[in-house]
């Protein structure tokens, strides 16, 4: 009951389902505490750096962070390798708690003349005096060290948080829950920044004393980590999940190698780097402006805290109102480009503003950058890791989030230092117009990097769908493909006919064997049967199938090429034709089925004289289905227009429909005009109309495909299945045939809506409804193959039907990025794993029903 209430509450912030609720809540709380801590530390760090250090020191601080981070990552990797995840996270949080107390102590010595000492005796006093002297002598080094430490803290703790998310949830879950986590982070940031702003603004507390709030928050984070992993252990034990047990090892060299080898990860790393460099340059502009507008430490710290608070409040509002919608409606494709595009436009205005508006401009651009970073960009960045294989993702993410991130910060610092040196910023007049010129010069560089970022977003997205489908292999081959790969179905049919005819007519039997030998498609086993090891065959109780005196002993002769040639020549002899012309009529009129079958079979080898074709016409109307079968085969060879109506008539014959379809397809493109009227005529029997699409599929021309699409648009229930199957067959076998989106899209939507109707208004008991829905979905996916890459759609369909939970997620994510927005809205509630009630609600919403 409590779980349900929790689920209902969390659903307001993200798509939380069932058993995920508790873990999702704990992870959100964990993220809340981390970001709250950071947003208390951040204004102190920024204010101290701006106030106590000259601009070049800003770059040195960033460069030092970039250099140090390599060691930190290596240490992180080693500890991840050696320690259980829960122990590692707990230990690192305890480390941050201890170190924050040290910084508070050091700042207290410098700023507040702190006289307390850990040990209140003579040696303690000595230590304090030494510390005071040391801090004064090394100032502002402690500020730089604190800046370094803060960067390490945020990089490590955020990475550790997302690692925990990856530990607990699979990619599709993570995608659904990412909104909830980001919300937790935003609220944490708001809480932290609010506390900092209020306390410094009201002068309740000195700037450095803010740090004392942080150990309390981090201690709560320690508790949360232990709750998360304790709960996960229970879940793993019951579900047999080995995600935690098999935590991959991370090494910096291996991580960098993984990223270097993979083009997608390289692009992702480059995109992240460009975003960081752009953000850092924007931050240098911001710091330059703030330094010139705010001189007092307390005011500056308060201003920065309020600024971050405002960013976070706006971020939270935007995140709750738009992030999910933008991602759902436009997908990663467009969401990924929003931040660089908007920042590019906003940054360009630096050349248009007056010096007096500099602070507003800096607040807007830096605020925009941070806001995107907190909302859309963060969500998108995490989602871009979804298609990466679990073991690779883990290592690559650590490398990109920490190492690449800080390398980019270092690069930006280096660029800023060079620019500062080349353009001599230190010697510029300390006036508003002088500062405007400085931020404009930084702006040129920032614009270039923002443009690069925008380009990289397109490159990353270009690779994203390919990454998603990389691990989606076919689960099963389509039935026809299996047969085509393993069998010659024509040969199989001929063999069975030969065996059947053995008892009926030796002549017919020999004709069959002759055809088989001539086709040179006999298997060794068949040849064996024909005469080489007859005794063995007898021993296997094959009755008198190929006994002495029949084809068994004739096989060596039939296999002789000269004899084959001679037999062919006999058929071409004018005298043979004359005799057959005179006698075929009699044979065809015979009361013996065997006579007529032999005639129907032989006609395919005869010259198409008028009497022969007349005889074939009669045979095509024969009452015996066996005769008709051979006659249809002969009609397929001669392809005479006068036989077409007779062949068409056989479409109504359930015993001959397959051979009639083959014969009509043999007529080639001309048959399209022959069968089109049947398809359109309401007067034709349904079985005839339903047999026509297969003929068109076998013809497989553009005209045939267009005709099928046109017929589909007539939306006749009884024709839907054969039409969709025929179109799908053309798509599979004739990749050059094109389908017009404007013709197919409405039909696709119509079919999806019909599938929705099955769910909203089930046609019977649950089993029947599910079966009906399966059929509808099958047709929907068949049609999707006409509009999107066939292989991808088939793979996605198979994984949705029979994949593992993880592969189903990948398939859904792939479709999410592939399909048209409206198609997705209608289709996803049908194929996602949802509770029935929610499925119906979503469908109604998508269909705009009450």
């Amino acid at each position: 009951m409590a779980d349900r209430r929790l689920e209902r509450f969390l659903k307001r912030f993200g798509d939380v389902r069932g058993h995920e609720a508790r873990a999702a809540q704990s992870l959100s709380a964990f993220f809340f505490l981390i970001t709250a801590t950071f947003y208390i530390i951040k204004p102190v760090k920024e204010s101290f750096l701006i106030g106590f250090a000259a601009p070049r020191w800003w770059s040195y601080a960033d460069l030092a962070t970039a250099l140090l981070i390599g060691f930190v990552v290596a240490l992180n990797a080693r500890l991840l390798d050696r320690l259980p995840r829960r122990t590692y996270l707990t230990a690192s949080l305890l480390f941050f708690i201890a170190s924050i107390l040290v910084f508070w102590y050091v700042f207290g010595i410098r700023l507040g003349g702190l006289v307390s000492s850990p040990v209140a005796d003579a040696s303690g006093m000595l230590f304090f005096l030494w510390a005071q002297d040391f801090v004064s002598a090394s100032w502002p080094a402690p500020v730089l060290a604190f800046s370094l430490w803060a960067d390490v803290f945020i990089a490590m703790s955020v990475t550790q948080f997302w690692i925990s998310v990856n530990d607990i949830f699979d990619p599709h879950q993570a995608k659904r829950l990412v909104g909830l986590f980001v919300t937790g982070g935003l609220f944490g940031g708001i809480a932290g920044a609010s506390a900092a702003a209020l306390m410094t603004f009201a002068r309740v507390i000195e700037a450095d004393d803010l740090l004392l709030v942080c150990p309390v928050l981090l201690a709560l984070a320690v508790v949360m980590v232990n709750v998360i992993y304790a709960g996960q252990r229970k879940f793993d034990a019951s579900a047999g999940d080995e995600r935690l047990a098999a935590s991959p090892k991370v090494g910096i060299l291996e991580s960098s190698r993984i990223v270097r080898r993979d083009r997608y990860l390289r692009l992702l790393a480059a995109m992240v780097a460009a975003a960081i460099v752009a953000g850092s340059l924007i931050n240098y502009q911001f710091k330059t402006v703030v330094k010139s507008f705010y001189q007092n430490d307390q005011t500056r710290t308060s201003f920065i805290a309020v600024f971050f608070l405002a960013i976070l409040v706006v971020s939270a509002a935007i995140h709750l109102l738009t992030t999910g919608r933008v991602l759902k409606s436009y997908g990663i494709r467009w969401a990924i480009a929003v931040a660089p595009a908007v920042l590019l436009a906003a940054s360009a205005t630096v050349f248009l503003i007056p010096a007096g508006a500099m602070l507003i401009w800096a607040l807007a651009v830096r605020g925009g950058d941070k806001m995107f970073d907190n909302t859309l960009s963060q969500s998108v960045r995490e989602l871009l890791y979804v298609p990466v294989a679990a073991d690779v993702k883990y290592k690559a993410k650590v490398f990109i989030d920490v190492f690449v991130n800080k390398f980019a910060t270092g690069l930006a610092a280096g660029l800023f230092l060079v620019l500062q040196y080349v353009r001599q910023f230190d010697y510029r007049p300390d006036t508003l117009s002088g500062k405007l010129a400085v931020i404009q010069e930084i702006g040129v560089l920032a614009l270039a990097v923002l443009a690069l970022w925008l380009v990289l977003t397109r490159l990353v997205y270009g690779k994203y769908p390919a990454e998603l489908k990389k691990d989606l292999r076919r689960i099963w081959k389509p039935g026809q493909e299996v047969l085509d790969d393993n069998l010659d179905t024509r040969l199989v049919s001929d063999v069975f006919e030969a065996i059947k005819n053995r008892d009926r007519s030796e002549a017919l039997y020999l004709m069959n064997i002759f055809d088989l030998v001539k086709a040179n498609s006999l298997t060794p086993e068949m040849k064996e049967l024909l005469g080489i090891k007859r005794d063995e065959i007898k021993a296997r109780n094959m009755d008198a199938l190929f006994e002495s005196g029949s084809a068994g002993s004739l096989y060596p002769g039939l296999a002789d090429e000269n004899i084959q040639r001679e037999i062919d020549l006999i058929y071409l002899l004018p005298s043979y034709q004359k005799i057959m012309d005179e006698n075929l009529g009699r044979i065809v009129g015979s009361s013996s089925d065997v006579d007529r079958i032999e005639a129907a079979n032989s006609i395919c080898r005869m010259a198409p004289s008028s009497p022969t074709m007349d005889a074939l016409a009669k045979l095509l109307q024969d009452p015996s289905p066996d005769v008709v079968l051979y006659a249809l085969n002969s009609a397929a060879v001669h392809r005479r227009p006068e036989h077409a109506p007779l062949v068409l008539r056989q479409l109504a014959n359930p015993m001959a429909v397959g051979d009639a379809q083959t014969a009509l397809a043999a007529y080639g493109p001309d048959a399209v005009d022959l069968v089109a009227p049947l398809l359109r005529s309401a007067g034709e029997p349904p079985e005839v109309r339903r047999a026509v699409p297969e003929v068109l599929a076998r013809i497989g021309t553009q005209e045939a495909a267009d005709l099928l699409v046109t017929e589909l648009a007539r939306r006749r229930d009884d024709m839907e299945q054969p039409l969709v199957e025929a179109l799908s067959k053309i798509r599979a076998e004739r990749p050059r045939v094109r389908f017009r989106e404007q013709d197919l899209r409405p039909e696709l939507r119509f079919l999806i809506r019909k599938a929705c109707d099955v769910l909203l208004d089930p046609p019977g008991p649950p089993d029947a409804a599910k079966a009906a829905l399966d059929i509808r979905l099958r047709r929907v996916f068949d049609l999707l193959t006409l509009l999107y890459p066939r292989e991808d759609i088939v793979n996605d369909y198979q994984h949705i039907l029979q994949g593992t939970p993880r592969s189903v997620d990948y398939a859904l994510e792939h479709l999410d990025n592939l399909l048209d927005r409206e198609d997705k809205e209608l289709l996803f509630p049908l194929i996602e794993d949802l509770p029935d009630r929610e499925r119906v609600l979503r469908l109604k919403k998508a269909l705009r029903l009450k």
Binding site: K500, M542, Q802
Partner: protein, 115 residues
Amino acid sequence: MVIKSRELGNVVIFDIQGEIIRTDTAQEALHSLVQAQLDRGRRNVLLDLGGVEFIDSFGVGQILASYISTQNLGGKLKLCRISNKLLLIFQITMLHKVLDIHEDCDRALESFGKT
């Protein structure tokens, strides 16, 4: 030809008697019976050919069409109790490499659980 269907667990079993051949007597073809079961959402089909004396090319066509329809939906079609004579023909025509053929039906049924 007489075809009776029954269900055992999640498997639809078709007990077939007589000959699966092209004939002029009106009767429902095997493939349409299998298709009807697939349309009902069944995905595991077993053809018990113990009572089948002969199959012609039409009959093979029916079995292959049933196989294709089942496979396309991710289902399984298996054969059991096939006569030695038919088995040999199936082997000659390589059908044994495509179709899952079992000597007795119990084993065939068991194998549905394993796949």
